[in-house]
Amino acid sequence: MHQMIAEIINGFSLMLTVGNMLAVLLGLSFGVVFGAIPGLSATMAIALVMPLTYNMDPIMAFAAFLAAYKAGMYGGSISAILINTPGVPASVVTTFDGYPMAQKGEAPRALDMALWASVLADFFSTLCLIFLAVAIAKIALKFGPPEYASLTVFALLIVSGVSGSSVLKGIITASLGFLMATVGLDPVVATERYTFGMPGLLNGIGLMVMLIGLFAISEILIQAGQRANIKVDGTMARAVKKYSQFKDVIFCLPIIVKSILMGVAIGAMPGIGGTTAAFVSYAEAKRASKHPEEFGKGSLEGVAAAEAGNNATVGGALIPLLALGIPGDVTTAVLLGALMIHGLTPGPTLFTEHSHFVYAIFAALLMSSFLLPVIGKIAIRMFGYITRVPKSVLFPILAVLCTLGVFGFSSSFDDLKIMLFFGVLGYFVRKLDFPLAPLLIGFILEPICETSIRQSLILSDGSFFIFVTRPLSAFFLLLAVAVVLFVAYMKKTQKSSVLLG
């Protein structure tokens, strides 16, 4: 414990430089803006900024990424409250009560509650991350290749199972991601796989190229199909009644605390994410409320529960990422890619080999929780201006930014064409109602999974029984099968009830 406190203090001393503070502030600003504009997301913000950070110190780069991740989740609530359009999917529950409050002239009150619930959730989920990630990483150090192989299969199956409307579609996109990751040199015998004689593919498909294509380019193509402009009604942001932020927070504190605990637990499970956490927290807040009839008509408690629930998943989702190297959602998958690009291997060894980095980013997370209210308050005032930028101007600019981002990273024109290929693939995947997250997570986990399985088979002289004879490995596999069967059953039951009306 004393050692951990000393490490955290050391982390703060590494973080407290002008450059790092500026990185946190820029990350927060970028995250809030991208989170607040419907169609953009913190994931896209991180993917676009990643090429610019290649030559940066990893601590500075990650301070910006993590600040953007947190702020992006909060930013979604601004448009949810003001224009009834969630900036990020996890903010959909905030619209239930946030928008009715705005219609009653209580938009500033709802926005302030969303901000403080998000800040408290961020802060406490970061504390959970610090204590739990360190403990889990210590256990994970004892994992061998079979345990890692089973853990990656577990994560892959869970993410495939819970993403989207169909387990089958999740597994299909995960398999596609898995296939894409096999392009390049074989990790054991170094023979070529699907390189088609192109030297540019010998090192495989670049993660950054894939990320920007799948998320940013596909979004531009989707927007091209919609050609919609969203503008905010500026009059909504003005207060009608006076209120006390402090009294509101104290009144909602029990709900916020409960939602944080649920959010952290849900966030730590791969693939479930902020939207589910917001729904679960909201349902629990409504059940426990003295005025459940106000929910859906402009309840302050509803806004607090939804925002605390979805923001608490941020700290929770970082636990498996940092402690085990397993991403639970799309944004943590992008962060995992960013760690790899900066030459860091996520997982338990990160805590032993780069402990200064881990504690510095813990400090960055705490610092961004303290700075979020400042940026959040400015963002609330600025949002009217931000949303006045028409999408017809915004998306062409983003297209050029994507091009420069990919070109700036590799100086390869072939990569631009590969990015476009992934953009078109992402467009069709989304248009055909297939989930995108398993594709990316399959792509990221394939090298870990393949290497672990092949190492395990070398250890067992080619016997696959090694995965079921090692207790922890067998446990992960059984758990994966059980969860997927359960999710498939639940989805089938939900569909039947919908069909039956």
Binding site: K169, I171, I172, L221, K391, S411, D461, G462
Partner: protein, 157 residues
């Protein structure tokens, strides 16, 4: 034909072509401890094939059940399943413009091609105010040019 059916047929064809033609030609078959470099690509292809076939089967069964229910309830409504939606070509046009942009970027350079492509995309996305188009295209092109040239040392000419 439903979306799922179309996707399943495309995926089945893709996995069969991959398994029988592409993988044998472009992936070697020599490995250690019984696992060759082809093992994982083939494994993923088989999962893809099995799941796509299952998706197709489920879609056919669901469509059949729905049509039986519709017949038994004497519904005249054929539902949206059979409705052919017009294809939106705009995303493909934008993708085509981006592809041309990448070629022009390679041979002519960033500074000359970007404002034209940006303006074209803005018009396609519905922007009609020429002052906004000119100001944002020229302004953003020069801003990005300077940012990436000075920041990352990129040769964009």
């Amino acid at each position: 034909m439903s979306k799922d059916m179309k996707s399943a047929i495309v995926l089945i064809c893709f996995s069969l072509v991959l398994f029988f033609f592409i993988t044998p030609k472009f992936v070697d078959d020599q490995g250690v401890s019984g696992v060759s470099p082809r093992f994982f690509p083939n494994f993923a292809t088989l999962i893809l094939l099995i799941c796509s076939t299952a998706l197709l089967a489920i879609d056919i069964l669901t469509a059949r059940r729905k049509s039986h229910e519709a017949l038994s309830h004497k519904h005249n409504d054929t539902s949206s399943e059979g409705v052919v939606h017009p294809i939106d070509y705009m995303p493909l046009v934008v993708a085509g413009i981006l592809l041309i942009y990448f070629f022009l970027f390679e041979y002519i350079g960033f500074l000359w091609t970007t404002p034209i492509v940006m303006a074209l995309l803005m018009i396609l996305l519905g922007q009609r105010n020429w002052k906004v188009i000119v100001a944002s295209c020229l302004g953003m092109t020069f801003l990005f040019f300077e940012l990436f040239r000075r920041g990352l040392g990129l040769n964009l000419l």
